[in-house]
Structure formats: structure tokens, C-alpha cells
Symmetry: D2
Subunit: 363 residues, 4 copies
Amino acid sequence: MKNTFGQSVAVTVFGESHGEAIGAVIDGLAPGVDVDLDFINKQLSKRRPQGKTDTPRVEKDNFQILSGVFNGKTTGTPICIVIPNENTNSKSYNKELLRPSHADYTANEKYHSYQDYRGGGHFSGRVTAALVAAGAIAIKALEKLNIKIGTHILKCNTVCDRAFENMDEDINALMEKTFPVLSDCEEQMTAVIQNARENLDSVGGVLQTAIVGMPTGVGEPWFDSVESIISHAMFSIGGVKGIEFGQGFNFANMLGSQANDQFEIKNGKIVTKTNNNGGINGGITNGMPILFNLAVKPTPSIAKAQNTVNIDTMENTTIEIKGRHDPAIIRRACVVVDSVCALTVCDLLAGRYGTDVFTKGIN
Amino acid sequence: MKNTFGQSVAVTVFGESHGEAIGAVIDGLAPGVDVDLDFINKQLSKRRPQGKTDTPRVEKDNFQILSGVFNGKTTGTPICIVIPNENTNSKSYNKELLRPSHADYTANEKYHSYQDYRGGGHFSGRVTAALVAAGAIAIKALEKLNIKIGTHILKCNTVCDRAFENMDEDINALMEKTFPVLSDCEEQMTAVIQNARENLDSVGGVLQTAIVGMPTGVGEPWFDSVESIISHAMFSIGGVKGIEFGQGFNFANMLGSQANDQFEIKNGKIVTKTNNNGGINGGITNGMPILFNLAVKPTPSIAKAQNTVNIDTMENTTIEIKGRHDPAIIRRACVVVDSVCALTVCDLLAGRYGTDVFTKGIN
Amino acid sequence: MKNTFGQSVAVTVFGESHGEAIGAVIDGLAPGVDVDLDFINKQLSKRRPQGKTDTPRVEKDNFQILSGVFNGKTTGTPICIVIPNENTNSKSYNKELLRPSHADYTANEKYHSYQDYRGGGHFSGRVTAALVAAGAIAIKALEKLNIKIGTHILKCNTVCDRAFENMDEDINALMEKTFPVLSDCEEQMTAVIQNARENLDSVGGVLQTAIVGMPTGVGEPWFDSVESIISHAMFSIGGVKGIEFGQGFNFANMLGSQANDQFEIKNGKIVTKTNNNGGINGGITNGMPILFNLAVKPTPSIAKAQNTVNIDTMENTTIEIKGRHDPAIIRRACVVVDSVCALTVCDLLAGRYGTDVFTKGIN
Amino acid sequence: MKNTFGQSVAVTVFGESHGEAIGAVIDGLAPGVDVDLDFINKQLSKRRPQGKTDTPRVEKDNFQILSGVFNGKTTGTPICIVIPNENTNSKSYNKELLRPSHADYTANEKYHSYQDYRGGGHFSGRVTAALVAAGAIAIKALEKLNIKIGTHILKCNTVCDRAFENMDEDINALMEKTFPVLSDCEEQMTAVIQNARENLDSVGGVLQTAIVGMPTGVGEPWFDSVESIISHAMFSIGGVKGIEFGQGFNFANMLGSQANDQFEIKNGKIVTKTNNNGGINGGITNGMPILFNLAVKPTPSIAKAQNTVNIDTMENTTIEIKGRHDPAIIRRACVVVDSVCALTVCDLLAGRYGTDVFTKGIN
């Protein structure tokens, strides 16, 4: 389905970086969900570039909701959100020089050179603004069901944040932060990023996400495991190149007796003593927090000279990417991950409990 | 779609570990593809337990093709493959004791205790036999298009294999191996696994997969990136808890100038000097080998005593899992990964080039 | 999705008329639904040929449930039903002579002559036996929700049955009939069919279906209207060439003031005084019975000489179809329509109310 | 998938009659397809009300293409078309009085009274303007493949047009007509419609559609027959209550020997002597024109007094629908049918021949 994700709650994205507008259509969200414009703006502001670590291209993100909202609530019909592109500057883009590790070459192969190449076109991170606006509605819908999502920068090159500890507190704290970290490492991370920029270079990192409040019994044994669904969604965010649930790749170092999450009864409910599996057994939620890490590669746009190919002349050459770019996208990516995650969880819940789950609740 | 995966070429699985049979239906594979029964048997034998490192439950895997094959070739209609369960022994299963890190608890929550709990039921690795049989047909279909897939055990607890080097050679070598490793580490890995078994414990590991010969321009920018599609498929294999493409989590340690895959012209074609991105840029294939690693957790069935809950009495208790189990599934998982991967690639190709791609070729 | 229908409750069919077996996989039906083997047999017997009006090929329909049922109830995992082909006789089929109005030519064009041509292969009405077995489980699941479905022969060539009157009574009566008509017209219809056979010819007709007990508010305004979903399902039954809801084509003769279904309150509930719209407004159920008619064309297999083409020699020639054929399929089609309809309604309900609707009920 | 239709080429609609805008997103159309703005306007003008037979609400349909088009051609990424609502007047709508045979009641049941009820909201025929704009791009893409689509009013209450005869000529003629009929019956039909309006009433009719130039071998035997796909799409157009392919309901009056389309060789190609099956055998195209008729019910909005219910007070009452309404939608519906049909055919072709079919051609 290409640019659409989700079965019961589906989101479709459209738009190019330097076209008229980017946007998203959310379909299947129950009627009667509050649409909080201030919250949408707050979420968009988290994604917006800041002076220190991000691109100088700042868009105002004057989003417009064209449909699906009436008297401040969702109607149950498709919600189209459009965000015009206002601060575009296409001069710095040369179509013929392929930017290494960008989608220039693959887009050319897929779209036979008809793609809008300006600013990465449809591949641009700009499109994630629409996902953040859409996700803001989903986050609020989940709050009503006591489901919360938070993402922080676990690692920025050599600098590490602490892992999640007290989930609820940590997520609440992250909700208010522009630079989403749990420990006192913002300054160090910022320094690493600025240092990269000064060296005409870029850095990547690892993000950690927690979803708390998920009911048990959601997901499928084969093909639509919760891991399958979440990873599918996450790998559509540009720059994400790895995902691991719970102990993930660290499982390879553990014995079964260390890895297994043993059960116990606590307050009359079945819980696990540890959460190495990140809240998912056999592809299905077990009621513990869902935990996953994402590997984000360094931003491919760097000012350093790189070898490349001129696709028009088919000659080897070099490129120095000037334009306006982020030396790291890990900060801005956190709110995008939260947003896509929220839309994904809405889809899982609507599939299991029916379309009215967001107003009637889980039962 | 629950137990179905794929849009243009779709596979549906069914069956329980101790039921009548397990099986798969493949739909959308072009007519005219050779169905090589010997090769299906060869692939099934790779998945079958061996004395040293695996479960003592050995099934003969007497598969039957009920439909979709005529005169030794696919007809283009759904292929149903059924494999009867012959060597079942349900005595060792107690429904009420939840096996830690298994799907017992989550299955109970999802299916409200109506699930067939014997031997893990529909969650059992037994179902992967059907995927291997189905995948064998897909692997042969891809061979005609010069696309090859290989998986080896990159890491078994503390023992490491070398990474892929000469792709074609390595994949050809793996095709003939029962214990799929590239370097001389079988003995060490086997020792680690046997040692775990002796200690009533189990081990996990990391698998590495390569797909060579993929055409450029396959995949989608949003939501149906090649990473999204492959990860979706891989996370339906039990025990897989992480996936990374190319450098994956190692990207966090790299600068953009180190991470980017610079372009050059080689033999008149555009290639990248490195392949840190694992053959995928912007979600779309760039013609380089697709490379990914999978984290596989230790088998949860261990004979050591573990804390758990009796779900009938809702009391804390302990469990020692006797039955017939694998102290590691990483060896047997390799052919499953190849098979699921082959079905996934068939789906990607049929979506891009049309349903006749397997007989008409890519153009 | 080719041979799969449904999103929340999906059914996949496989098999060829003269292959090993035909079958179906139902996925997404809630756990805990009773599986009544006697009822499945009863439904299959309605579809089975009878001496007077049908083909002499009689299959015993010894169905086997391979998965998804445990202790007499659904487990919630895929249910695979297989029905072996026992009474096959492939001698009468000549691949090279295209049978007019059959799928011989189109199958050849689609499958490039790799199709199993014997007895119509995958296009054969034989495959509907699997749908009837699957549908029998769905019909019983709907009964628990007080939803009932019935189909009768409204018209067999020149002979007409009366339309539905007292829905519940009529449907209950049809459930027990082998020749499903509401008025005293069986003898006349049988005579018409036998007459056609004697003249080496065949007849078609019109079927009428009613679904009672549907909750209000099911369906979608665009693309997934209840009419869209039902018609999609019905046109996969061979021989169906038309569908109309409520007054259907007769609407063209009516004025708005005659056609509109005016509202009134009855027993505290909103109902319509008439039901010209067949229970659907704006694509969504209004709580009145869903009513539709299906046009079924005369069976294309006739013994009369017809002009055709020899596809091997590409010459004009004639064909007389001997084999064992039905001079009319309208009687046998009724239970197939009920079955496909029941599966479709299950899908609609699970999508709206969640996967547990069949055990938890609609609320 | 609710408001999305199609798998390989998918269209999503959004918008409410009296909201900001209505629109559509087309995804999966190949890159490099010409986008002819004048043709889009021409098609929109056919849908626009005319003085004599239609509603006085005239919208300028100032459509905007926000994405997916670059330098006058499709890029291959999603095309979002937005049409603002400019001439809205919500005064005449009373939410509490249910308009008979409209979606007022069913929308209320589905959306729990959160729907935008003004002017029918998301159920309004206004949304079809977006489908016409999207369809115009699809029609031009099909023209390059020599596939043409035409729809005419076969019957307006008592007045009948002639059926299609010379397909190509007829379709070309229809393309230029605002009142799409093949014979000299415009005046009579117009009189019938105006007469209905004067009597505060409305009329319906039957439309006939032809698709010529379809390749053979498109469609699926089960569930995704060409009839299934087309009917699914057509029943999402408001007011459509019946569809029949070829002889449709008339098949009930025919014998097999009359109904069957006998084969012959003509100009070296296999064709049928008649086309009673409307170009489809076994769910798959046979290369003959696809022919179908649609039953369209009388517009439910009539000024005559009707019985209804006040849903707020739950009392019986009467309603006279004033507002601005069409006494018949059959004229305006023709271009909508063509548009939806073109999008559907694009989806069928992209699924069979791959995503590049629109620029590379069918082979």
C-alpha cells in the first residue's frame, strides 16, 4: 500500500519538500476524539529545528485541518492535515550529482528521473511534520485509555543517556522536553553534534522508546506480531537502520535462564519479574511496558567532499553538500517516533477492540 | 491480515504443533515456475533436528502439495502445502503452568484459554516447516532471476563466525551446509550449545543474511520501505528480537563521512564503494547486496527451575520444562530465515514488475 | 489479494476440480465459537448434486479440519478445512477446445497455459464446497448474535417464487429445504431444468437473499459500503452476473417519493415503513433486513453443438460438451451464497466491534 | 480500508460538503504520466450542476494539486488534489430531522452523532468532485494504453437511450457531451427531470458503461474477479443500488445456448461472436469490451412532505427538504462513473503488469 500504513486506523502521507505542501490523511480514528490544536502545535515545535543542533531551514508549520474534525472533535471520517511549505530554497540542489547514502540514486531508479528531486522531494524528513501533527491526535486519543509513549536519545555517538527506569515519570518528563534525554547529558550531546557540524560532518545515535499501559493480548502469532507491526512503521522513518525489542541484540550474550522473564503475581495480576522481552511474548503484548531501541544513522548530508557520480554524464566526480542541513536528526526524530508509534498503537487497538475503542474504552 | 503476509505474493500459515497438520498456502506466484520436490525435501532436512544440538522430536515432514502445481510446475493458483504431525507427544504439557518467555500467557490472554496449548500450539516453531517448504519454491523461482539468499550464524553466544565476504561464493557454500557457518567455528558453537543443554539451559545468537542480485528501484519511500517489509516478515519468526540493516546499531558510533556509501562507476554501472547501508537507500534497493542481522533470543524452554504462576489457581509456583526441546534454535532458524526472505522478495518483485516476473524476467 | 477475502475475518480458498483436494483457510474468527460437524455436513449436503436437476458427479465431501479447532471450538487461529477430490474423471476434458462462456480461454491467457484445465481446475464450482464448510462455521457464529441469512430461488427462467415476507419464518423454513423456494413452485422449476437438460441446454435464474438481525451503523461511506463488500464477495461465485439491493434496477421506474423509506418510531426504535433500500443507507446498515438479488447465468456447459476455436491449431471448430454437468446451478448456489454471505458479515462485524465480538456479543 | 480503494493504484478520499475542502490522494500511479489541467477542468465541468436539471449550488471547483506532480508529469509519489468548498450554506440543515433514504440516520448510528451533518457531510456527492479530478488523470493514463471508458444514461425513468453499438465512436462522442446520451433523447429526459422537480419529486435511472481496449487475462478467479473489483468501486458512488455485467438480470430469461458467447477467429485473434458476458469469463477479461449497467435510485432529497423522526425528541414528525438539490443525479453521475472506473482499471493493470505499465506499456 505504499504511502499508507495501518489497517483499522490508517495514515497516508503525501508531499514533497519543495512542493506546495506536505500532509497526511488519518482514517479510521473513532468519532468523538478531542482534537487539541495547541497540543499539535506543541508537538510540531519539538520537531522544528533549533539554532544549536539543527538545520537553519525553519518552517512555521501552519497546519490546516481540511476535514474530519467538527466542533473540536473527530467525526470518524478521514482527517486531512495539510502543512504548506513556505521557506523553500531549491537553488542548492543539483539533480545530477548523487548525494551518497541519500535516496537520490534509488529515487532515480524507481521513478525514472521524474521524481521531484528538490530537497529530497517525497523522501524528505519534511514529510514527518505531517506525521507529527497526525500523531498528536493519536497521542491524545491514547491518553484517554491511559496509554503513554515516550522516546529519548539513549546514545548520541559516544555520549549515553540512562535507560528508562520509572516509566510513567520518565515519559511525563520527556513530554515537556525539547531535547529529550532522561539524565543530565544534553550539554555533552549538543557538543558532540556541534563538533560534527564544525568538522563538516554528522552523527547518529540510538533512540529508546517505551509504551506503557498496553492491554494484554494484542498482536498476532505470525506475520502481524507486535514487533512486526512496530518495526514496519519505524523503518519508514528516514535514517532508522535497526530496531531491537527488550534486550534485543544483547540476547545473544545471555543464557535462557538469564533471558527468560519469570512470572509472579503482584497485586492480583500476573506480571514478569524482569522485562527482557520488552513487553511482547510470541508477538503478543503481555501487559508489561513495550520497550524498543532504534539505530539512527548519521545524517547523510555533510559538507565534506565525497566521491560520487554525475548521473547525466556518467562520470566519477565529487560533491560538497552545502544547503541547510542537520548535523544530527536524533533530537528531532524522537517526536516523530512517538507520533508514528501512537498511530501504530491506535491501529492495533482498533483492530482488536473495534473502531469505537477510543470513546468506549477497552473491555 | 494476521496469518497472511504479502500483497502480490502472499503466504498464509495454519496449524498447531500437536494438531492434525501444519501447512501454508502461497498465492500469487506466477504460473510456470518449476516445483522441485527434492529441493523442498533438502530444505526441510536442514530445518529438521539433528542429534547433537537440537530437540529429540524428529518429524519426517512428509509434505503433500494439495493444489496449485500441475505437471511439475506452478499453475498460478494457490499452492497449498500440508505437513502432517506424526511424532506428537502431548503428555509433557501442563496448560496451567505458564512457561516463562513463551507465548503461554499471551495466548491465554488473546484467545481466552481456547487455544490449543499442546506444544505451543499455533505459536510452535513447528509451523516454520511449512514456511520452509513454501520458501523452497520461492528460492528456486528467484534463482531463475539470478537472485540468491543465504543466512549463517554470525554469533552463537560467545563464538563468532566471520561476516560475508565474497557473497556469491559464501551463499553457494551455505546452501550445502547443515550447520551454516562461513568460517571454521562449527565445533566451538556446537560445544557452547551442548554445554548449555547439559546445564539445563539454552543459548541465543545473531544471524546474518545476504540477498544478492536484487534489481535497483524496488521498495517504497514511506511505510513500505524494503527495511519495513523485511523486518515485518522476520519478526514473525519466533525468537527474533532485533534486526539491523548494514551497519545497523554500529551507525551510532560512526560519523557521516565514515557511514556514507560513496558512489563510483564500475564496469559502466553505478555502485557504492562501501555497503554500510546494506543495499537500501531511502527504503529502496540500490543494487548492492541487501545485508541484515537478526538477534535471536535463547530458547525459552529450559529444564532449570523457574518461577512462574499457575494460571488456574493464580498462585506463584515453579516450573521445570521437561519435554523435548532445542537448547538453541539458531542453526535451524537459518533455513527459515532464507525461506521467509525468499517469499518476501518474491512479493516485492511481483508488486513492482507484475505477476509474470518469474517467467518473463525483470525488464 | 487474489484468493483471499476479508480483512478482520479472512477466507482463503485453494484447490482444483481434479487435483488432490480443495479447501479453505478461515482466519480471524474469534476463539470459543462452537464448531458443529453435523451442521457442516448438513450444509454440504445441500450443495451436493441431486439426481433430478444436477450433475451425476457426486462427491462425498469427507472434509477434514486440520487446524484451528480444539475440543469442539475455534481456537482463534486459522482453521484449515480440506476436502479431498475422490470422484474425478478427467477423460472428457480436451484442453484445446475452448468451452464458450467458461474460463478456458481467459485462464489460458492469464496462466499462459500452465493452468490445471481438468474440470475447470481452480475455476470449478467444486471449490465452493470449501466455502460452504467454512460458511457453516460462520453461520453458527452469527446465530449466537441473532443474525440469520437465507437465500431462495426467486426465478428459474420463467417460473417465479414469491419474495420474502415474514423474514424470520421464511429463513427458518429455507434452512431445512434442499430445494430452497418459499412458495409451491419446486415442481415447476424442476420441470424447467429437466426440460433444459433434455434439450441439451441449461437455464439460469435470480436468487434472493435476506440478512436479518444486523446491527445499525455497520459499513463505510466510501469504497467499503456494505453494498461494495457484499457485491465483491458475491461476484466471486461463478455464474453471478448481477446484483441489486432492495428495489435495485426497479428504482429506475420509481419517483423519489415512492422510493424513499420514510422513518417512524416503532416499539421505541427508529425503523423505516418500507425497505426499498434493502437495509442500507449511505453504505451503512440501518437495522432493517439487508435484501439483495443475484442474477445467475445459465450453466455454460451444454451438450448442444457450439462454435468454438481450437487454441492449439488456431482453427474454427465446434464443441459438444459431454462430461457430467448441471443443467442449472441455481439450486446448489443458494447454500453457497448463504455461506459466502455469512463469512462476509463476520468480517464486517469483527472489523467494527473487534475480534471478540462472536463470544462477547455486540455492544 | 474504509476511505481507500485499490491495491496497486490506490485512491483515498476525504472531506465534508460544508467543511474546508474535499480532496483525494492517488498513490501508485507510475511516474511520467502527463497531467493535463485543462482536461481535469473539462471533466469537472461535466460534473458541475447545470441550470436545467440540477441543484442551484454551483461550486467553481478550483482544484489544487499539492503533491506528486512536477513539471507537468506525475512523479510516482502520492498526488494530493484539494478542492475548497466555497459556496456553502448550512442554514437549511436540521440535524435532528432524519431525511428519508439519506445517510442521516446511519451516520448518526455509526458516528454516534459526532458526524458533520451539514449538507450530508462526508456522504455528500460533493466528494465525487475529487474523484473526478483524480479520475481525469487516470483516464489520460489509460488513453496512452488505448483503453477508453464511456458512460451514458441508458434510462431516465420512462425514457430510454439506445445501447452501445460502435464502441469507439460512441465513447468518443460521449466524451464531448454534457448530457451523455447516444440517441436523440436529451430533450425527453430533461423534461422528465424538470417535471419531477416541479412536482417536488425526483427520478432515478440506469447508466451503461463500456470499457474498450482491455488486455486479456486481467482479474482473478476467486474474490478479486473483475466483476468483484468493479462492483466494489461502483457501489461506493452514492445512489448506485444495482450492477449487472453483460446480459445481467436478463440472463435469467435465456437458455445456455442463447447466453453462451461462442468463439471464433477474426483477424488472427480469438474473439466471441456475441458479448453477453460483458467481456469477462471466470472473473477474467477476455479482450471483448467490458459492459455493465448501474441502477441509480431517485435522489432522496425531495421537497414533498415525508414522514420522519426527530432523533432528539424521538417523536414522529414530517419533513420537507428545501435546500438546493438535484431532482436527478444520473447526468452528473456519468462522469463520476467514468472516473472511478478509470482509477479501478489503473489498479487492475498495475497489479498485473507492474507499476511502470503506464509508461512502459502492456507486454
